[in-house]
Symmetry: C2
Subunit: 120 residues, 2 copies
DNA sequence: TGTCGTGGTTTCCAAAAAGGTACTGTGTTT
DNA sequence: AAACACAGTACCTTTTTGGAAACCACGACA
């Protein structure tokens, strides 16, 4: 019963209300690519073209869209170098780094499930 | 670079392929209600009508749909009592319980983000 | 002058997820 | 005989996501 001590009040995020912290977390990283993007950025700062290579099965549009949202949510930092051709580097913010332990556990759990759980 | 040691091979789940454990995890609990359902069931076994009360802003249809998928994925156990009116109890399986630490972290992180992170 | 590379944006369309409403089955109670 | 309780199912619509293809800006370079 987590309600009792810490949450009767709703949480607000981008004009939506959530009852539970889990829903907030999923709203931030639950998209099809966001969690993976954060995971990869946790390993190293990457240029847009690096991300395109890593996520070769998505489109530029999706990548920029997800990155913009992560940036607005304060999880990712976008650094533009005033050059031609353009150079843009993406990295995690302090805030973004705090979610790493969760991503790590999700990665392990999912991998383990795929190996053993699905045929249990 | 998590690729190097543990994953070059793809993981398969319900006829889809995933490169990363994170994506597997999200496929299983990334739905709009699934993680919360698991979270509540981790606290206590619940009847369908209990869940309806907890998730009063969704429909019976969505609940059954999500529960069926969680059941198929081996995370939730469905026990039917042969009575009239019907009685059906939902609880976590062993497998389902293993995800609890992740849910707990997501709950804390999300709650913390909602309080402090969004105005940082 | 024309082409290249990077990091996008725009428009349009398809697929997937979520939601609404009505209907069902069946013992028990009134 | 009618209504109720519980746990659904069926059918259809709406909303949200994801994706394909084309276009853009701009300096460098041949």
């Amino acid at each position: 019963m987590q309600q009792n001590q810490a949450a009767a009040e709703l949480m607000t995020l981008r004009d939506r209300e959530y009852k539970c912290g889990i829903d907030v977390t999923l709203a931030l990283v639950g998209g099809k690519w966001k969690a993976s993007i954060l995971w990869h950025l946790a390993q190293e700062t990457m240029r847009f073209s690096d991300l395109q290579r890593q996520f070769s099965d998505t489109t530029r549009k999706m990548l920029t869209q997800q990155l913009r949202e992560l940036e607005m949510d304060g999880l990712v930092h976008r650094k533009v170098y005033p050059q031609v051709p353009p150079k843009v580097e993406y990295s995690l913010t302090e805030q973004g780094r705090t979610i790493f332990p969760i991503l790590e556990m999700m990665c392990d759990w999912g991998r383990n499930y795929a190996q053993t759980g699905s045929q249990a």
